[in-house]
Each structure stands twice: as structure tokens, then as C-alpha cells.
């Protein structure tokens, strides 16, 4: 769509759009891809991490990536396709902490054919290079009419990267805000689901993407918009053998933060019958503690926090919760000891609560190891 924008600072729009232009920042991307496909994973990723802009990587892949895949002999092409798509994914992950998009508000937007199409107050989204890199890889893999099993791993890894970057709109679009350019939404998750229709982790990812749109919240504000929209997405997954436990944890979390304590405790109580995943056990116990404390059941809350710490000793969120609870009961000696031990623990253990928003990003090391194992010649 060719468009002309009116009544807005053109210079600013130009600045935004400039990020879509080719950049000379990443010379030799195809050469890097070649090295990556030959197993030089760490060296290539280190180079990608040193980049500050990824437009050049995207542009070179768009220009030469397909040709690079096709340059290999026929039996090699599937591996080369996977290598190129995974290279793109690694580049996107290297850009995990950058903005994945710009959103700009335009007062009017004129389409040459359709005339003024803008709605008052609607935003226009401009995607930066990292999500487009993921989508480039995704399109490359989708060339294979029948997805091979390793593609499932690639899609799970792509979800991990997007969740780690915190861009849920990239995964599912936005059912919450009006967008002037809806067709430009990527909705990567729907592509993945198209390829793996029964994969429960992708369904869970969709629910998580919606969940993350219900935060941040102001503490003490009982009603969170969209609870009724998000909760059923988790509820329908709770019975799933593969992701039911995590769906239950997240449903419980949603209930806790919206003040539905009884519902929260009911669902969190079920988690340990569904999984022994330490990460989820910790979250279930920790959130149970929060819920119980809110409900005034101090002794049970204390036991729940201790239970969380039995799952992941010295994790900070439960340590803090337990220490504060003890301090409130004038048990400062133990509270102080807990804090001191926690702060002196090296290395600090992963705190699932602090990683909660990043969803499957915790699986990245395993996922990328699998992909690299498949790519390694």
C-alpha cells in the first residue's frame, strides 16, 4: 500500500521509517550464514550480538538467503533452509533487548486508491528488523509443504525468542488496540499453528501473549480488564497433558492478581498432580503463598513460601515474601538470615517469578542446542 501521511511531523515519520531501509552495517551476512551452517555457531552469534542495528542482516538475507539455500545440492537443501532460518532466529535473539517495533499515531492516513482510511486515534505499527528476521525464517521453512519434525523445534524456539523480547503483538497481533494497518500485523504464532495444528505449546503461547496484555497493573486494583478474555484460554488448556500444569499456574496467577483467591488456590492446588517441573512447582507454591497471605492465612502462606524455596532454594521472590512475612510476625532473626543467605548466594538461582513474562524463553538453550545439532554437518 502506497500511503501519504498528513498533518503529522513528516520528519519524525521519516525517522521511524528510516529503520526499514537497507543498512551497510552487516557486511558479509551470507558469509556468516555459511560459517553458521558449518558449525561455527558461537563465533557467528558473538558477531551478531555485537551489532546495534539488524536492518542490514535482514536486507542481505532477503536479497541472498534464498539463493544461498538453493546453491546447495538437493539433498542438502532442507538442512541449509533450517540453517538459514535458525541464523535469522539467532540474529533476532541477539536483538532481544531492542524495540521490535515503533508505533506512531497519525491523524490521517491517505491511501491512493481508497482515500482517507485512518481512524481518529488509531496507531500505525512499524516493525523493526528482529521480528522481520523471525518471519523471514518462518517463510523460508514454510516452503516445505510438509513440515519436518525439526521445524516444530524451530517454531518453539521462535516463540521463545519473541516471548523473551516481550513482543506479544508480534505473535498474535493486538485484539486490544486499534491498528491503522492491520494487514501489517505479523501474527507469527498463527503461521506456526498452521504448520503444527495440535502443538499445545503454541496454544499456550497464544494464551500467554494475551495474558501479558493484562499487565502491568497497579497493585491493589482488583479489576484487570480482559480477565474474562484471558482466563478461558488457560482454562481450556488445563487438562492438556503437556502444558496443563503451566496453564494452571498461569490461570492461578491471573486469579491471584485479580483477587479471585478461592479460584486461584483451587487451580494452583492441582499443579503438583500434573507436573514435577521445578520451575512450575516453584511458581505454584509461590503464588499460592501470595494468595493465602492475601486471604489472611498467614501460617499456610508461610508453609507455601517455604515449599517454593524447597523447590528452588534461595530464589529471591519467595525469600523476600517469606522474610517479610516473618518480619511481620516479629521473627526478624530468621528473616534477616534468609535475606543475608539469599544475597550472598552465588550464582543467583533462576527466579521463575522474575522470568514469568518470558514464557518459554527458559527453554532457549535446549531448543537451540537441538537446532544446532540438526544443522551441524
Amino acid at each position: 500500500m502506497r500511503s501519504v501521511c498528513l498533518l503529522l511531523p513528516l520528519a519524525l515519520a521519516g525517522a521511524f521509517l528510516a529503520s526499514d531501509q537497507p543498512s551497510a552495517q552487516a557486511p558479509g551476512v551470507i558469509m556468516q550464514l555459511d560459517r553458521y551452517a558449518h558449525g561455527e555457531f558461537d563465533a557467528v552469534v558473538a558477531e551478531l550480538k555485537a551489532l546495534t542495528q539488524f536492518d542490514g542482516v535482514l536486507e542481505e538475507l532477503r536479497l541472498g538467503g534464498q539463493a544461498w539455500v538453493d546453491a546447495g545440492p538437493e539433498p542438502e537443501r532442507a538442512r541449509r533452509r533450517l540453517a538459514a532460518a535458525t541464523f535469522a532466529l539467532e540474529a533476532a535473539r541477539a536483538a532481544e533487548y531492542t524495540d521490535w517495533k515503533r508505533v506512531i499515531r497519525l491523524d490521517a492516513w491517505v491511501d491512493e486508491k481508497e482515500g482517507v482510511t485512518a481512524k481518529e486515534g488509531a496507531d500505525r505499527v512499524f516493525w523493526n528488523a528482529p521480528p522481520l528476521l523471525v518471519e523471514w525464517g518462518c517463510a523460508l521453512l514454510r516452503q516445505d509443504p510438509k513440515p519436518p519434525p525439526i521445524e516444530r523445534i524451530w517454531h518453539l524456539a521462535s516463540v521463545a525468542v519473541a516471548q523473551g523480547a516481550g513482543d506479544m503483538e508480534f505473535l498474535v497481533g493486538t485484539p486490544f488496540e486499534a491498528r491503522m494497518n492491520v494487514p501489517d500485523e505479523i501474527t507469527h504464532l498463527w503461521h506456526a499453528q498452521d504448520r503444527f495444528k495440535t502443538e499445545p505449546r503454541l496454544r499456550l503461547a497464544a494464551a500467554i501473549a494475551l495474558e501479558m496484555r493484562t499487565w502491568p497493573v497497579r497493585r491493589g486494583v482488583p479489576h484487570v480488564p480482559n480477565h474474562s478474555f484471558v482466563a478461558p484460554r488457560f482454562a481450556e488448556l488445563v487438562r492438556d497433558e503437556a502444558v496443563g500444569a503451566e496453564a494452571a499456574v498461569r490461570l492461578g496467577s491471573l486469579h491471584v492478581r485479580t483477587g479471585r483467591l478461592k479460584d486461584a488456590l483451587n487451580v494452583l492446588e492441582r499443579v503438583e498432580a500434573m507436573t514435577r517441573d521445578t520451575y512450575l512447582i516453584y511458581l505454584a507454591r509461590y503464588l499460592k503463598g501470595i494468595g493465602l497471605e492475601k486471604a489472611g492465612q498467614t501460617a499456610d502462606a508461610e508453609a507455601a513460601y517455604r515449599g517454593a524455596l524447597a523447590a528452588i532454594p534461595h530464589a529471591q521472590s519467595a525469600t523476600m515474601a517469606l522474610a517479610a512475612l516473618l518480619a511481620k510476625q516479629d521473627q526478624r532473626r530468621e528473616a534477616g538470615a534468609l535475606i543475608e543467605t539469599q544475597l550472598s548466594t552465588r550464582p543467583q538461582p533462576l527466579d521463575p517469578w522474575r522470568a514469568y513474562a518470558a514464557g518459554d524463553a527458559r527453554f532457549w538453550p535446549e531448543l537451540i542446542a537441538r537446532l544446532r545439532g540438526e544443522i551441524r554437518p
Binding site: 515519520a13 525517522a15 524495540d99 529471591q316 535446549e366
Partner: protein
């Protein structure tokens, strides 16, 4: 101003000296001369610290009861200084400058004082551990900006940290007060502050430069940190200029300066709002100098109950215009046993009563004393009760779920071995529920594979073909084409009619059953790991239903060298070949096959008995007698794999469990 020996003041975390625990329990009222309370008091006149006051200038009420102030000190007591630096992205410039300013702050301290720097980002951590000040720092702080801020957790942690009884503790927190990730709400911090012996000062860093657009397109803009969403929206509307679409996820977005101010003032500290160009070290200098000029009042509470919360009010009646800042009270903890580090022991579900069979099992297992574990399990008489107790005990090792998973196999195996129906049912249910829990979140992994193999081997060991079949079928849904599971499935199908008549409606030779069994053995025979065993077992099946020629073809087809890699299979191949050849009436070749089996395991009984039978058949009584004598004189513990033919992979159970145990370490 007088000072008393500090050693006499055995201050606890609540800044109250306690006698021994027993004495405390017997004497709920402050009576000992050693029960000393210390209170930091800052007195100002128009913002300027007032010096020169003595004990008689102060009036101190403890829970409303006037107390006698025993000493007033100003600068003699060494100080621990905790600097908290909020390293979230909004204050990243402050972080950079703090890395430079910490050494300057350290230089302000005196010999005997100590300093630590704690970083607040998505989590709280010590960037500089507590170390002596008054000279060059042993190491530089390692502050790094991060996406989020657990500011309230950081403040609470600093306030809760134990302080050496002979020292004062001042906390200077440099933060924009925006909390995005804390476990604790600001009200909890205020509650902790009210009961903390430390003095808290909060320096509010409120402005940060934050690039909105790529730095090469527009100059950086000034953004108010922790920006208000409404303001952002307005700016977006007015200027078409919207902020970065991705900001770090934050579970909370809270800015409660009033509560933070109240928290700081409750400790005798304050909230400071600096100008744009005030450096952290200049603010710290002022705070610290003021603190140095504050008073430390000591008194022994009288006339008030010892334990619990004590409200403290300090005034300077002779000078009503002075402002007095002091913490508002202190708490005295009920005496109790010293705890270690609760929550770290993993003892959350350790409510298994001592003296019970389960306790003995868990104890041995927990110590990795597997010999004792096996003894305990072998001695179990009520397997159902053991399984029930185990399930009721809950998740015993939440930090190491593999540990529980392996014990599940061992306990179920022991319960199955009791051969009681209730025990078997209980074990079966345990295994059925646990096979879901042993799954890796993403894909079937090696641990699950071995775990399922261990279960199948255990079930084969008690000859439960239907249950074995169920688990083999399940295992194949998780690991399609896993050779051992294919073989286990074939063997279980074979076993279901192993002892039936050859012919008849449900006979072992019934056509559909034969097709089923042979097809499944053939599926297992496609893999080198299981080819030899699958062919040997298929041959024995065909032999049992009278199809000796086909049986012989299977055995001839089995690669002898591969079969001989496993002594058991090599031996069985020879033994069964003898039986098949007998069935074909080829007795001379059968004799050779039995002799061959004896060459593999000379003390095994089955080939000797078979040979004896052949000798009798051919009328060679002396040879038969010689073999009978050899059988009678064979070593007592001579093992014959034929005896465990129907136990399938049970022969591997020990090795499988040993490997699983290794994974739990």
C-alpha cells in the same frame, strides 16, 4: 556524653539486648542491666543538626512509660553503610555515575566503618559486599543497568539485614521509586521500616535521559522516568510521537513516594529530592554528616513487658522549636531456637513419621545407601501401605524431581514383588500417575526413556503381561520405534497366551494371535539392538505352536555374533535351537546345539537335562548317569537363564535402576 562498653550491649536484630533464652522465658519484663535498647535520634533546628545535647535534655517514652536515658553518644559508634542503587533502565545514567562515585563515598567513612553497595534491578544483589571503609576499596562495585526494578524488595532486604550488635546501620537508597518487579508492595516496606533498627534515607532520582528515537535521527529527549501513561498518551496524541512500543515487562507499575517518605521517616531518615545537578555523593555527604551528628540514646527499659512491639517517642522539651527524628519503636522477638537457613533444607514435606517402613526407605535412599534400601524394600510386607504412605508424603524432593521418580520405580517394584493384589493395584496406580510427571516439558528425553524401561523391566519381573503391554504401548507413544519397547510389547503379547493350549479358540496358535505376535517380534527384529533377542523369542514362540521349521529359520537368521554379545541371548539361542531340532526329529544336531549351550554356561542345568533326555532316548544310560551326576554336583548358585526366560528384561532391571540412580546425584 557517656559511653559504656559496647560488649555489654548484646543487641539483637531488634536492637534490644537479650539475656539467655531461658532467662528471657522466665522473665517477661525488662529487668537485667544488660537489656539495653539503642535509639538513633536526629535533632535539627531549621534543618541544621543540633549538637551539644545531653541525656537530661531528652525525654524518652517506651510504650508510654518514661525511661531513664543511660548514655548519649554521637560519633563513637562504628557505622555500617548500605548504599542501594536502583539500576533499572530509567536511571541508567545514575548507575554509570554511581560506579564512579562509590569510591568517593567510601572515602567519607572512617576507620572502623564498613560499606556495602547493593544493586537493584530485576533482582537484588550485592554489587559490593560489606567491607571495611576508610581506605581504598578492596574491589569496585559491579553495577549494571537492567530492564526492571525490584526497588521495594531491595529496600526491604536492606532493612531486614542483620546488623552487628555493636554497630549502627544507615541505608542510603538511590532510586526513582518506580517498582516493576518486587514481590513486596510498598506498604510492606513501610511496615518493615517501622520495625527496623536501621536508618533509611531515600534519594529520589527522578529524571533520566532516555533516547526515544534512534540516536542518529534526533537528539535524545528528556523523559520523566516511570512516565505516567496518561502523559505519554497525551504526548502521543499531540505530537504524533509515541514512545518505544516495547518497554520491559513489569508485573507492577507502582510509584508511591508518600509511602516511601513515611517509611524513611519511620526509621529516623528522610526522603530527599535532589536538584538536577546534585551528585549522589554530595547528597550522601550531607546525609552522612547529619547522621554522624545524630545522637545514639541508650536505655534499659523499665516497667514495660519485654516481648512484642514497643512504641518509642523521643522529645526535647526544653527546645520545642527543634525537630526530632527517631525511629518509632522496636520489636523484641520471642526467644526460640536459632534457626539455620529455613527453606533451604528441602524439608517442606518431610512429615514422614520416623519408625515407619517408608521413613526407613527414604532415609536409606536419601543417603544413597542402596544396599540398605534394597534390604528395607525386600522386607516390606504391606506393599499397598507403603505405596499409600509414599503418595501421601507428597513431593519429597521438589528441587530434584528425578530423585522421586527413581524411588517411585523402586517402591512400585517392591510392592509388586509382594504378589498381593492390593499392593499390585496400588503400585500400578502409582506408576500410571507418575508416568505423566516424569515427562520433560518439551520432548521425551533419555531419563524418561530409562524410567519407562525400568518400569517395564519391573513389570516383566512379576509376569504381568497385560500391565506390561499397557506400559509398553504407552512407552511407544512417547518413543516410537524404540527397539526395547517394541520387543517388550511383542513379548507381552506373546506372554498373554504363553501357557495356553496350542490350538483352540484362545490357543497360542490361534491365527490372529500368531500374526500379532510374529509381526511384533519382526518389528523389534528390524533394529540391531534387539534383532537377536526378538528372533530367539519369536523362534521359541513358533516352536511352541509346532512350527519348528520356521522357528529354525529364525534362529539360523539370527546373527550368532550379535546374539553372543549378550551371554543370556547367546545361550538361549543355542538351547532353543536344540529344542527346535528335537521337534524336527534331528536329534544329533539337537545334541550338538545343547552341547554348544553348555559351552557358553557349563553349569547351566537345562542343556544338561536335555542332553540327558537324549542319551536316555538313544539308550546311552552311562552318559545319562554321568550328566545326572554332573547336575547334582553343580555349584549351588549356578544360574540358568532359561529359568528367567519369562521374566524378559527383568534381568536388566538392576542395571537400569543403577543408571537411573546415577542421574539423581
Amino acid at each position: 556524653m557517656t559511653t559504656r562498653p559496647l560488649l555489654a550491649a548484646l543487641l539483637v536484630s531488634s536492637a534490644v539486648a537479650l539475656p539467655g533464652a531461658g532467662q528471657a522465658l522466665q522473665q517477661p519484663v525488662f529487668r537485667s542491666a544488660l537489656d539495653v535498647v539503642t535509639i538513633d535520634v536526629a535533632v535539627r533546628s531549621g534543618g541544621t543538626p543540633v549538637g551539644g545535647l545531653t541525656a537530661k535534655d531528652f525525654v524518652l517514652l517506651d510504650n508510654g512509660v518514661p525511661q531513664t536515658i543511660e548514655s548519649v553518644e554521637m560519633e563513637a559508634v562504628p557505622i555500617d553503610v548500605s548504599i542501594l542503587v536502583d539500576a533499572n533502565v530509567d536511571v541508567d545514567l545514575s548507575v554509570a555515575s554511581m560506579n564512579r562515585q562509590v569510591p568517593a563515598i567510601a572515602a567519607l567513612l572512617r576507620q572502623g566503618d564498613r560499606l556495602r553497595v547493593t544493586s537493584i534491578s530485576g533482582h537484588v544483589s550485592d554489587a559490593l559486599r560489606l567491607q571495611p571503609a576508610g581506605g581504598p576499596l578492596a574491589s569496585a562495585p559491579a553495577l549494571e543497568a537492567d530492564g526492571m526494578s525490584a526497588a521495594y524488595d531491595g529496600l526491604a532486604a536492606a532493612l531486614l539485614r542483620p546488623v552487628d550488635s555493636s554497630r549502627r546501620h544507615i541505608i542510603v537508597a538511590i532510586t526513582n521509586g518506580i517498582d516493576a518487579a518486587s514481590t513486596l508492595a510498598v506498604q510492606a516496606v513501610a511496615g518493615i521500616a517501622r520495625r527496623s533498627p536501621a536508618v533509611l534515607h531515600i534519594v529520589q532520582v527522578d529524571i533520566a535521559r532516555r533516547p526515544l528515537l534512534p540516536s542518529d535521527t534526533l537528539p535524545d529527549l528528556l523523559w520523566e522516568s516511570g512516565r505516567d501513561r496518561r502523559g505519554e498518551t497525551a504526548q502521543c496524541r499531540m505530537r504524533g510521537l509515541c514512545g518505544p512500543a516495547r518497554s520491559p515487562w513489569r508485573p507492577y507499575d507502582q510509584k508511591e513516594f508518600d509511602v516511601l517518605r513515611e517509611a524513611a521517616e519511620a526509621t529516623g531518615g528522610a526522603l530527599h529530592v535532589p536538584g538536577l545537578f546534585n551528585s549522589a555523593s554530595s547528597i550522601f555527604r550531607k546525609v552522612f554528616e547529619d547522621y554522624r551528628r545524630s545522637y545514639l540514646l541508650r536505655y534499659t527499659p523499665e516497667g514495660v513487658p519485654r516481648e512484642g512491639w514497643h512504641d518509642v517517642v523521643v522529645t526535647v522539651p526544653a527546645y520545642p522549636s527543634y525537630t526530632v527524628h527517631a525511629r518509632r519503636g522496636y520489636g523484641v522477638e520471642a526467644a526460640g531456637p536459632d534457626g539455620g537457613t529455613p527453606g533451604a533444607s528441602g524439608a517442606f514435606f518431610s512429615g514422614v513419621p520416623a519408625g515407619t517402613p517408608l521413613h526407613a526407605v527414604i532415609d536409606a535412599y536419601g543417603r544413597a545407601d542402596y544396599r540398605r534400601l534394597e534390604q528395607e524394600l525386600a522386607g516390606i510386607s504391606d506393599g499397598a501401605a507403603l505405596v499409600t504412605a509414599f503418595r501421601e508424603a507428597g513431593n519429597l524432593w521438589p528441587a530434584n524431581p528425578k530423585r522421586e521418580a527413581v524411588l517411585v520405580v523402586e517402591i512400585a517394584d517392591a510392592a509388586m514383588a509382594t504378589r498381593r493384589i492390593q499392593a499390585r493395584d496400588a503400585a500400578r496406580d502409582l506408576l500410571r500417575s507418575y508416568r505423566m510427571l516424569v515427562r520433560h516439558p518439551l520432548w521425551p528425553d533419555d531419563f524418561e526413556r530409562y524410567w519407562l524401561w525400568g518400569v517395564i523391566a519391573s513389570l516383566q519381573g512379576v509376569i504381568l503381561p497385560d500391565l506390561t503391554r499397557e506400559f509398553a504401548d504407552y512407552a511407544l507413544t512417547r518413543f516410537p520405534n524404540e527397539p526395547r519397547f517394541l520387543l517388550a510389547q511383542a513379548f507381552a503379547v506373546d506372554q498373554t497366551r504363553a501357557f495356553a493350549e496350542t490350538s483352540g479358540r484362545n490357543g497360542a496358535g490361534q491365527a490372529s494371535h500368531v500374526r500379532d505376535v510374529t509381526a511384533r517380534y519382526d518389528a523389534a527384529a528390524r533394529f540391531p539392538e534387539t534383532a537377536a533377542e526378538a528372533r530367539v523369542r519369536k523362534a521359541f514362540f513358533l516352536h511352541r505352536i509346532g512350527r519348528h521349521a520356521e522357528a529354525l529359520a529364525e534362529l539360523e537368521g539370527a546373527d550368532g555374533r550379535t546374539a553372543d554379545r549378550d551371554v543370556t541371548i547367546g545361550y538361549l539361542r543355542r538351547l532353543i535351537r536344540g529344542r527346535v531340532l528335537e521337534g524336527l526329529g534331528r536329534f544329533g544336531e539337537a545334541r550338538a546345539a545343547y552341547e554348544s549351550a553348555r559351552s557358553v554356561l557349563p553349569d547351566a542345568q537345562s542343556p544338561a537335562v536335555a542332553l540327558m533326555r537324549l542319551h536316555v532316548r538313544s539308550g546311552d544310560r552311562p552318559a545319562a548317569d554321568a550328566l545326572a551326576a554332573a547336575i547334582e554336583t553343580a555349584p549351588k548358585h549356578a544360574f540358568d537363564p532359561w529359568w528367567v526366560y519369562w521374566l524378559g528384561d527383568a534381568r536388566q532391571y538392576g542395571a537400569i535402576v543403577a543408571r537411573l540412580r546415577e542421574e539423581t546425584r
